[in-house]
Amino acid sequence: MNQLFFVLPILSFILIFFLGIIVFLKNPKGSQNRTFFAFSLSLLWWLVVNFIVDYIKDLSISFRFSQLAAIGPIIAAPLFFYFSLIFPRSEKKPTKIQVFFILFFCVILLILVPTKFNVEKVWSEEWGVNFKPGWLYYFLGLYLASYFILIFKNLFIVYKKANSLEKTQIEYLLLGLFFTLTIGLITNLGLPLVGYNRLVTLGPSLSVLPFVGFVAYAIVSKHLFEIEVILTEILVGAIGTLLLFQIFMAQNTFWKMTNSLMFILFFIFGWLLTKYTFREIKRREEAEKLSQAKTEFLSIVSHQLRTPLTAIKGYLSMILEGTYGKVPIVAQKPLENIYASNERLIRLVNDFLQVSRLETGKIDIELKKTNLESLIRSTVDELWIKTKEKGLYLKFEKPKEQIPEILVDKEKIRQVVLNLIDNAIRYTSVGGINISLEKRKNYVRIIVKDSGEGLEKEEAERLFKSFSRGAAGQKMWTEGAGLGLYIAKKLVELHKGKIWAISEGKQKGSTFYVELAIQ
């Protein structure tokens, strides 16, 4: 146990020190990097001072240091609060009122730190130095808990708007903070409340290790600060250093030899781990570069394909509009057919590009409060002419109750609705399409019901796969590559929603449902 009290703080110190330095050096001008570094320093203060309290022999110095230990968390908490405002994007700043209260409580607490309100007295025990906390000590617990609530709140708010990578980064930060808070409150507040102070000086080391662990894992797996390679080396070096230290501290030849063997084994595995990490990271970077190159290639190719199609579309539309004089009647229909075919090509290019992006996960969604009723109404207006040309009706039923605005990517959901209605138009020859919008308890439901060809059960199940059409699609002359529903499904899934279709059978129409959570 005594060895644990010695080794753990040293290990924590090395890990936090180097993590802070590396993050800072990665981008010394970055506010996130500088704030994280300052936060690391305040944690180090807490670790070092508690270590000194346990190992210094002079009780009067121990007493002083046990009071000064509180400086670390007093400063760490507002620093991490500021970090939670600017991570992962430096978009927010604390308000003037927030700055006032942060400084006010900080100054008051720092003034009271070297007083008996914090630590009343210390004395020696068999296991080390014990202490009697004052009321300020418990107030500090409340102070820290309040900051943690604010930090969690800030990170949750950012989480909702974050992209997938940022979400993972925040998840790891939150997990690390949760464990840090739980362990710290138990060892340094909960147990002292019932008179058990043995773990107080070990508390900092125990509580910050999970935080360091989760941040480290986030760095390794998801490029938190892009320093995963160096971190692996630091970790291996730190543990190796401690094992080497253990060799010299060993009490007898047996333990010297055992520790030496452990050191040699660790050295070999550490070297292999570092080598493997280098290789993995290099492989991941190459895959990322390849994916990026593929995305750029797709964008360039679609740009190149679209350019001549734009010229055809533009000139044809001008001819049909009469810009070059009245179009001969015999030429009208052929020109319209060319225009329609060109439009089909443009749609194909758009769909292929979108499917490629969906497949490679290169589509992000921008969530904004959206009025779904207006969105559907405008989409219906857009497609009304198309249904009229086919002799079908297209109706949007006004919702029975007020539909709240929900957080969605407006353009993506507009495309989902467009694709569903477009699909319904294609597979309906008689009758028409009804669109409705319903509010349920935690979600809204968009319903697109047609009087078209209908589906067998097996068809409904595979309908949302790419390049898939129902049997009607193969029988009827329908344009399109079967991507519309697949794209709709992927876009709905990006919103963590649901999409499905039901039909009572052939010639009995189909109903498509989309559910989106109310946020």
């Binding site: 995305t295 964008s299 579309k313 000139y315």
Partner: protein, 123 residues
């Protein structure tokens, strides 16, 4: 008085097509085929609106947009990014730099683009 429009577009066939259509709708149209020329024409003619292609020879349209926004003489001219390059990152960059819209050319007829521009000019 006619509204002046500057179209910065390197594809000559498209540039001429839009020029023809816009002039037929009563606009005074200036063309530029690369970013350097575009910047010079913008400073000289001070159009009411700029249609800016993104994939331009030698310099990307986003960089040109940056330069336009940094020049006090022309920074207030509304710019519509006008391209077949459908890249979300580029679109975000253009909008953050102050473009008022990002139009994919292939998705609109020249008449539809004119309607959009007329709406923007009314504002």
């Amino acid at each position: 008085m006619k509204n002046k429009i500057l179209i910065i577009e390197d594809e000559k066939i498209l540039a001429e097509m839009y020029k023809e259509k816009f002039e037929a709708e009563g606009f005074d149209v200036f063309l530029a085929f690369d970013s350097q020329e575009g910047l010079e024409v913008a400073k000289k003619e001070k159009p009411e609106l700029i249609l800016l292609d993104i994939l331009l020879p030698s310099e990307n349209g986003v960089y040109l947009l940056q330069k336009i926004k940094k020049d006090n003489n022309i920074s207030k001219i509304p710019v519509i990014a006008f391209s077949n390059y459908d890249d979300q990152k580029t679109k975000n960059e253009a909008m953050e730099l102050g473009a008022i819209d990002y139009i994919i050319k292939a998705n609109h007829t020249p008449q539809e683009i004119i309607e959009k521009i007329k709406n923007y000019l009314k504002k």
